[in-house]
Symmetry: C2
Subunit: 285 residues, 2 copies
Amino acid sequence: MDIHFNQVTIIGVGLIGGSLALDLKEKRIAEEIVGVGRSRENLELALSRGLIDRYQPDPESGVKDADLVVLAVPVGAISALGKKIIPRLKGGALLTDVGSVKSPIVRELEAALKPGISFVPGHPLAGSEKGGAGAARAGLFAGNRVILTPTPKTDPDATRRVRRLWEKVGSQVFELDPEAHDLILAAVSHLPHAVSASLVQAVFRRFSGEEIKRTGAGSFRDLSRVAASPPELWRDILSLNREPMLEILADFRKRLVELETYIKEGRSEKILEFFSEAKKYRDAI
Amino acid sequence: MDIHFNQVTIIGVGLIGGSLALDLKEKRIAEEIVGVGRSRENLELALSRGLIDRYQPDPESGVKDADLVVLAVPVGAISALGKKIIPRLKGGALLTDVGSVKSPIVRELEAALKPGISFVPGHPLAGSEKGGAGAARAGLFAGNRVILTPTPKTDPDATRRVRRLWEKVGSQVFELDPEAHDLILAAVSHLPHAVSASLVQAVFRRFSGEEIKRTGAGSFRDLSRVAASPPELWRDILSLNREPMLEILADFRKRLVELETYIKEGRSEKILEFFSEAKKYRDAI
């Protein structure tokens, strides 16, 4: 199946949106790419780097002739922006997003859809740091994974087209329910960030940076690295993904308290079992 | 101050003990190096690699003519072995160790000391994985740090000699109380390992390795890496460092519950503050 769009509008021309724009042009999937965003400086940069063909600061004007619209703004802004542009989309337009939390976005945008417009929720697992148009690069998605989370309301043909698009730029695509997506991402991405920030908070409230640098080993470096991720992104993700996050955090606390109990009670054979099992799990991936 | 020993006995010729042996020979700090260990195969390997000049499977015979004895066995075995060899040490002998927990070892070995024998507790921060004599390499300690934890009972001249030894092999040496050492190491090394194993336990009890591999991002990889460390080592460390570990785990749980409460109550501005502060801390090291 070949795939082609006359006009693609990308809202949010940052690392993800900008890189996708480059690939869509290079693979001749898009005839014309329109960039939309709040920062004229960023849009000018996107234009000068050849990521987009033209730009339009106003989202409602920017989407009106688009055959495909990609919502690539920060995850906390997707729902509101989607609801704002849906009434302006032309018949037959395809809408997708790149948000790293799916259920709340799917719920809000499906409720706002109008006949003739298809929405296919998506999540490329390709780094979510902010970076602006300057961070975009061709080939970002090659070898990476993209999760699509269609629902019973999603047009299967629209899903096929969005799948094809991501495959064309080199991604491996698979599908999950929005709820299943949000729970597993809570476990393998959002929990690690929450744990890392909590670890840094705990250690730095007791010791100075100097003391930590002097004694800290590779383990602290590994575990604290993602605590330096953009705080606004993690505010948005943890706020949006509230229920799954609370569920996974409770799981984690249970295991932590289990280990703590073994230490308190001096049950070294249980500590060994706990670490041996964890090693076996980790070695398998 | 120059430093030289006629006979150095290294008990435990693994990564740390074997690498130290190599450096002591190369820097002409030791005239003769005797290896002691339970595995004859490992001692033969150490001999054939030139780490040691000869070996002696029995610790009590191996230390009797030593001017310096280095206890480089796994941390859980140091106290018992130290108490066993102390009665056999000759007058004027210097004893040190490389254990990553200090207070319990210091307490037990200081109680067992006899007049004329000096014990200087030490901890090279240079990787503590098991590896055997095959993993030893010259220069392991160059640019690394070593913590010495002398007490009021430690002979200051003995401390100076051990410090000099580590400096000669390229380490940066600093001193801490045994208790201060154990608390900060609990925070910057033992807690990260406990957290990593708990994270892996929580996530793998809910999802399969296949699901995790498919969706897991760099953050999960970072946070779970040290869960694959040798379980016996972590059983020993967490068992030995019980009180500081429980104190630091309680700190960590408090911060985690703080974040959990913000998520539960939908206080996104507090989540932002929590992550912003953690980022500021992490960026500073």
